[in-house]
């Protein structure tokens, strides 16, 4: 049972109040008509399945009914941050890799 910080209610709530809606930051193409079938197929059906950092769209369905994004680690299930729609994540695969490299640099 995950414990999730709702960025609109500004507090932790239990997973049962939420629904997950898959990968975040999948923008609807500006001009769908200009998309090839392959591009449109990518938009509708194809999603990443990373081992590690994953940005996800969630909705606080039993609470404020607002959608928001969560950065979750798919192995540990840690939720590293949640942020509002329109905002950018501060924890990314790149930022984690950089932090790791710098930590190793210090100890080495």
């Amino acid at each position: 049972m995950l414990n999730i910080y709702c960025p609109h209610c500004s507090e932790m709530r239990s997973e049962e109040e939420f629904h997950a809606h898959g990968q975040a930051h999948i923008a609807r193409p500006e001009d769908p008509g200009a998309c090839s079938d392959a591009e449109w197929g990518d938009y509708i059906f194809f999603r990443d399945n990373p081992r590690g950092i994953h940005h996800e769209l969630w909705v606080h369905s039993a609470g404020c009914r607002k959608f928001f994004n969560a950065t979750r680690h798919t192995v540990t299930y840690e939720i590293l941050e949640t942020y509002k729609i329109g905002e950018k994540p501060s924890v990314t695969e790149a930022s984690v890799a950089a932090a790791k490299a710098s930590a190793e640099g210090v100890t080495a």
Binding site: H8, E11, G63, C64, R65, K66
Partner: protein, 209 residues
């Protein structure tokens, strides 16, 4: 005003059945256990309005204030004035509960005060009802039912949250040290009624009017 349909929906006099009408609560008054840990009453047939608007727009907040005489409550709180209460539901949504029959006039007043703004006011009076639970064991009944932390350190008087409850959803409002309100949807009201009877059985349940 003309671009929305504002309609007086409650009749001045007609047979009314609140969502828990079928439970005949009035016949159960006083028949529960003495020293019951939980007292329940339905605060029925009140006017419920869902208000939407832009909280960050000062003219919205001031419009609401001029119409209701109340400040917009901040996240997860409830403000009351007499029999009227205003509750934060979401960053752009509030639940306004007024005495039965006042909802039409209040909506008109609000629309007047907020004229020209992008807002929405929806009468949902028939769709929900208010249950008041009071007594020393209410907190335990709530703990049986919701994963939300109802300890006073997390849920002081004046707080109000929408959350998961049993296998459904509702709003919990902490209105007094041992007094709580549940805002429940009409169609789920029988489920909640059965659930509350069962969950409070070990503490004793009393129905009050």
């Amino acid at each position: 005003m003309s671009n929305v349909n504002v309609y007086k929906q409650r009749p001045d006099a007609a047979q009314a059945e609140s969502p828990l009408f079928h439970a005949s609560l009035h016949e159960l008054v006083g028949k529960g256990s003495r020293n019951a840990g939980v007292n329940l009453r339905e605060k029925k047939l009140l006017g419920h309005l869902t208000l939407r608007g832009d909280a960050s727009d000062p003219t919205f907040a001031s419009g609401v204030h001029s119409a209701l005489g109340m400040e917009l409550p901040v996240a997860l709180t409830l403000t009351s004035s007499g029999d009227t209460s205003l509750q934060w539901m979401s960053p752009d949504e509030w639940l306004l509960i007024v005495p039965s029959g006042e909802e039409f006039a209040v909506e008109q007043k609000l629309r007047e005060a907020l004229a020209g703004q992008h807002i929405s006011i929806v009468n949902v009076s028939g769709g929900q009802t208010l249950l008041e639970l009071s007594g020393s064991k209410v907190r335990e009944v709530l703990m049986k039912s919701t994963s939300y932390d109802v300890h006073p350190s997390n849920f002081p008087v004046g707080k109000a949250v929408a959350t998961h409850f049993a296998k459904a959803q509702l709003v919990i409002r902490h209105t007094g040290e041992h007094t709580w309100e549940l805002v429940i949807r009409r169609s789920f009201s029988d489920y909640f009624w059965l659930w509350l009877q069962d969950a409070s059985a070990e503490f004793g349940l009393n129905i009050s009017q």
